[in-house]
Every structure is written in structure tokens, then in C-alpha cells.
Symmetry: D2
Subunit: 162 residues, 4 copies
């Protein structure tokens, strides 16, 4: 079993770029985190895009769908910005035979203090333990994308009708 990891950008991979006094995307950091985590499962990382999820459009979602469908792997992790993670997740529901887990972070992995590493742990467990389907792993929980939303004010994901 090889877990396929697709990175799409989002807060997870942000770096601080002094010359512009702002945050930009850095090289996906997830490979370094998996080494630090001392994981023993096999994985393969592919960068599909580097975008804030507010900038992810239908064409991007089509690319994500097509790539997931095209690979043989049955266990898929996707790092994604949190703002439209639910939308992307819900666009993947008709893919058969694969366990797909989307996750991201509220603080870049490169910050001293961040939820990124923890979320990676939650998602890594979820993708190995759950049956085929699409899930979101944030805030220490695993959600059905059809029944969750990001509470922007609180900066966390919550089940609908909470």
C-alpha cells in the first residue's frame, strides 16, 4: 500500500518572503514532516498546484479529480487550503474504490506553533483506517464533507446543524 499525497497549496505550505513582506508558497513541506514523524508507511508526493483555496476553481478541481482517478493508489491524502476544502471534497464523491482524506492547517507548518503536523497525523491514520469515500480531517476530527463547514469566525471546522 502506497499512500499517494497530492499537495495543492493552502496555509500548510506558506513561507514568509521578506522581499515582498508577505507570505508566499514554499516548496511543499510535507515530505520533511513525514521524515520528522518517523513514519514507516510508504508514500509518494505529487504537487498539483500551489494556490490559496479561494483561488481554486472548477478547472483545478477537475484536475484533482482526474489525477486521483488516474492513479492506481487506493489511499489518497490531499493538502488543501481550508477555505474551500469542503467544496473540493464534495467534488470527489463519485470516485469509486479510494479512501480520500483532505486536510490542511490554520497555521503554516513552518511556524514554531502550528496545527499542521498534528493534522497530518490525523489524516494519515484516517486514510489507512477508513473505507473508500471522501473525508475531511481537521481540528482532530474526521468529517463527512457533506455535513461540515468551516466556521471562519472560530477558525475551525464544525459539523452542520451543531
Amino acid at each position: 500500500m502506497i499512500i499517494k499525497i497530492f499537495t495543492t497549496g493552502g496555509t500548510f505550505d506558506k513561507i514568509y518572503f521578506d522581499a515582498l513582506s508577505k507570505f508566499s508558497f514554499g516548496e511543499p513541506i510535507i515530505g520533511e514532516l513525514l521524515v520528522e514523524a518517523n513514519v514507516s508507511f510508504a508514500y509518494d508526493i505529487v504537487t498539483l498546484m500551489q494556490k490559496d483555496s479561494l483561488d481554486i476553481d472548477d478547472a483545478d478541481r477537475q484536475l484533482i479529480r482526474d489525477t486521483i482517478t488516474a492513479v492506481e493508489n487506493q489511499h489518497i491524502l490531499i493538502t488543501h487550503g481550508t477555505d474551500t476544502m469542503v467544496d473540493t471534497a464534495n467534488s470527489l464523491f463519485d470516485i469509486d474504490g479510494k479512501t480520500i482524506v483532505l486536510f490542511g492547517a490554520m497555521q503554516p507548518a513552518r511556524m514554531r506553533y502550528s496545527d499542521a503536523m498534528f493534522n497530518l497525523g490525523v489524516a494519515s491514520a484516517a486514510v489507512q483506517l477508513l473505507p473508500p469515500g471522501v473525508h475531511i480531517a481537521m481540528n482532530g476530527q474526521v468529517f463527512d464533507p457533506r455535513k461540515v463547514h468551516k466556521n471562519r469566525a472560530k477558525g475551525r471546522f464544525e459539523a452542520n446543524c451543531d
Copy 2:
């Protein structure tokens, strides 16, 4: 659902104590990590002991068993040293109706570079997703304690007969 977290010591909670030029146990750090992780599940932390797992004996295991049995919680996380985590896990198999996940770390959570936060993520997912039983969450995988051992040379957990 409130996840009950029992800490027993191990590498996870080690601090560096300059006056002795050595590592000792510090206050359990797991509460701080869960805040950093921005989790939204409810939990309650209890420190049972602070020991290297090579020093955990039958009386200690009896205490761990009795405490798990006594609480109402059905979802139990246990931080534990990695050297005898398998032994402790295997001593808990006859507890009914509870999902119990043991985990620890090869590098203290207080190190700049550590597997602790990731392992906490894996275990947090496992304890919510798995049915009643006992599990070990290390190296990004969830193991049946009856079929795993710590490979000391490699510093990682491996399924038996690998």
C-alpha cells in the same frame, strides 16, 4: 464523547534538567500540544505516573487497568514509553467496551524536531475511528499489540513476521 487521556511518562514528556545534566520528566505536555493542534473534541487528562517504560511493573499495569475500567469514558488514549508499550497494551485486552490507543514518541515533544505531535494526531484519529479494543499508534500506523514489536535497532514499531 470525552476522550480520557492517561499519561504514564516515557520519552514523550522528557525535559532537559541542566542541574543534573540529564533528562527527567517534566509536567505532561500533552495538554499544550492539544491546544496547539486546535482540536475541537473534548478531553480530560490524568497523570497516572511518570516513568520510563522499562521501570513500569505489574503493579503499575494493574493501576492502569483499574483506572481505565473505573472511568466511564469509552475512548482512552495512553501516552507511554515505547520500550514496554506492547506489554502494557497486551495487559489491557480483557477490558470490554472501550477503544484504547497507546502511543508515545522517540523524541520528546519538547524537542524542536520530534515525532510526538504527529503521533498524537494519529492516536487521536485512531481512538475515534476504531471499535472497542486495544491498539498501538506509532510510526504513522495503527498496530494490533499482539502482532507488533519495537525494533530497537531501527527505533520503530514493526508488525511481527515482517
Copy 3:
């Protein structure tokens, strides 16, 4: 001797603000760093402003001058964005009887990997060791502001006519 520390913003104090997918200013972090550094000198921190140094104008520089002149302290540290640190430093040369050291960071102190803490150490030493005058402490060196510029391409400060 009490070292007076004025914070003006800059990269040093940047935080990541997920709701805006960008970096903003957080509460000045220098107090926390000095505790982590285990310093035994006395200091007092005052936040004058929170600006990128490209936004610091003559009125701001006048405020910085006037405040330094008004306090009794003879040892002054100033955290400042790197883009116009030289300009601010050069505007302070006619203040008598005070050792003034400006410093900042190319990576926010809140990043896992940052020059902020090191720069604070260099500046802390410089302000205690140097005679009255104005200095810039960056990249592990102490510069005369009249003879230094920020090499933006290389992201570091260099003596003029290098």
C-alpha cells in the same frame, strides 16, 4: 542599567492570520524571547508602532527620536523592519549620551526557522558593550548606519563599498 526596548513592527513581529491568508502584526514577541533567552539584565519594552518599515515616515521617525530623547535610559534597543532600518538609524545620530542599536529579522520570530533570536542576542550584547552612538545589528555583525545598506537581492546588510 535598564535597557529600553522600543518595538516598531517589521518582519520580527509578523504572525500568520489565516482569515486573511496573510501575515499581519502580532503582539510584540520580544518579551517572550527574552524570557526564553534567560537574560539577567533589566529591560522595559514599549511598543511605539507596528509597521512595515516601508510605511515608516518622517512623522514616525520624529516619534522614535522624541521618545528616545525623552527617556532616561542610556541603552536603547529598537526592533525595526529591515527595509528602512538604515534610514531610521541615520535620523538618530544627533542624540547624545545614548547607545542605540537597531535590529530586526528576515524571518518572523514566530517561524520555526528564524534569525530573530540570534539577532536579539547580537543586539543585546552590542547595546551593552558599545559607547554612545547609533548602530545596526544584523547578520551577526554590528554596522555603522552611515556606512551600510541592505542588499535586497541577497537579503542581508553589507558595508558600503564592499
Copy 4:
């Protein structure tokens, strides 16, 4: 000017060695810290020994003396355990023409929370700003080794007759 850096061990370079459930010496980390610090001065690192300073004896001190005397560099930094840093510093006073600064840390540089990077900053400034002689840089201050002691209870260096 090339700063010569001699490492002798001490808390600064400690790592956690899980197999022994204890701290040991790791490869000197100071080179990595200087890269993180984005320094622009030239330096050269030599590992003389890796010892807790309580284990540093007269033969070791002789080695340190002889090596400092033998090199051409006039600017010397020495990382050293804090317990006998004063003793080693005081054994170097009759070396002419060199600015020698000893420093260390109360928490290993590899900890998330450490004074190591800050102390490196203080020492880097001190070795460039001070005239020939021997100095200790700890707790944000630069001390004359003949007039300082380590207050073990408080875990900090203090001038004598404070």
C-alpha cells in the same frame, strides 16, 4: 577576519538518545545555527571534544589552550558546558592577542525552547567588539571570568559580590 569556533560539548550540543533513554552528545549543531542566523561573518568550526564540563580536566584545558595558541585566528568562540566554564576561561588568560569568548546553554539547542541561539548571538557580537582577553557570554551579559560564578540554584551566571 575568520572567527574560529571550538566546540567542547556541554548542554549546547546534547541530543536525546531514545535507545538509552537519555541525553548524549550529538554532532555539534552550531554550524546549522549560524546558517539559520544568516550570519555574514566568516567562521571555521573545530570540535575539540564532546564532554560535560564536569568531566573536563586539566589535560583537556591544556588541549584547549594549545589549540587556541596554535591557530592564527584572533577571534575565538568556545562552546562549553556551563558547570566549569569559568574554570576553563580562567585557564586561558595568559594567551596574548586574542579575543576569546566562552558560552554555552542551559537548554540544548535542539530543544524547541532554548537559550542556545540567543547566547550564540551575544557571543558572536562580543568576540567582534571586545579587545583581546577572555570573556564569558551567558544570560545576555558579558562577564570577566575572574569575577563571575555560576549560580547553580538559579541556573544563571552572576558577577561575584553581587
